[in-house]
Subunit: 209 residues, 2 copies
Amino acid sequence: MTKALERREKLRADLILAAERMIATRGLAGLKTRDLAREIGCANGAVYNLVADVDELVLRVGSRTLLRLDQALSAAVRAGNPSPQETLVRIAIAYCDFAAENLELWRAMFEHRMEPDKDVPDWSVDDQMQLFRHIYAPLAALFPKRGTEELGITARSLFSAVHGMVALGLEQRLVAVPLPALRKEIAILVRAMIDGLMARAAQGPRENS
Amino acid sequence: MTKALERREKLRADLILAAERMIATRGLAGLKTRDLAREIGCANGAVYNLVADVDELVLRVGSRTLLRLDQALSAAVRAGNPSPQETLVRIAIAYCDFAAENLELWRAMFEHRMEPDKDVPDWSVDDQMQLFRHIYAPLAALFPKRGTEELGITARSLFSAVHGMVALGLEQRLVAVPLPALRKEIAILVRAMIDGLMARAAQGPRENS
DNA sequence: CAGCAACCTTGAACATCGTTCAATAATTAT
DNA sequence: ATAATTATTGAACGATGTTCAAGGTTGCTG
């Protein structure tokens, strides 16, 4: 009993690693079950003993990517201990760099759509939520008056904005933006967003202008 | 000769409209050539007399969507004539509303990937570039000192940031953000970005902080 | 109007997917 | 050792985008 299960788990790990390599080199669209089976040395049908379907496989790879991203962001926060503002800038740049260095794996996380009427399992959404905590701490230092919920919303807004810049910036579709230029633009806009948010917070809620 | 060509063009228009309806109701992944052929009343193979492949079809639908988006943004700019800041906020909100009301068509533009080694035709990239002009004008009013190239970069950064907020905000994947809340968040962040950019422009280039 | 060439349309066929499943092999329990 | 359970296989299924030879239409010409 134990022998069979061990082998199974080993194969499962191999499968996920092979899928990761395949996505990294050929993109999400280049992930093929038959190629995976050949790579890990089993029949194509056997893939479905290790994993329910390709959706799960992609999610498992995404989980690993998310973990590495988390580590990259942690490292960015740890380096030096500058102001909360600059910490947020560093996180944004680190996000940009990670996306550039892991382009296809990073894209796969956002390109992938579950097959109709089946939704993302809990363990996968939990993974994603973890990311915001890096942004949350510096933000809390900058806006001590705000409650946890409000901070959470601001954190998601900031993340989304930076994500958008990275996503469209790394797209080949439009004129390719050179990476250094993109990093600079991100730094400028993150500083601007924080400055702007703090200025408005300082003078309190009021009419538009 | 003319009769045949007329029919062809009519069918072609029907095809694109049918594809548009199909993407709108079933998403990009729900676009099937056989269903399209049945809908416009021709053999499945005939689709390839009207269009080179599905890539072109999706791009043609995208072109129409982009045109309607352009009109929506134009209308947002035209309504009243507030400050350039508030014009930019209106554009961002209009972008958000358009995406929400045309969710699948809007998503299709960004989800679609050309098949390998074939790249987006010129007429399609031109369509996309047109969008920035809405952002460009108010920005130019706010930053008279900046050159056209610098303004173009800032415009793209702003657009990308708002796009990110809309894209992740409308995603069901994470906790669904109610639309009014999303609109409010976008308005807040756009104002903050502009405030922050202007503040830094006013005191001129300098060290970080 | 008849004949002919150019073009169009058709739908069957092909290649490639993800996925399933009955048959076979391997492993475990008795 | 033998039976029972479980795992693995690879052929087959159903979709799907795309192609193409066969047959049908159209429009020009004598």
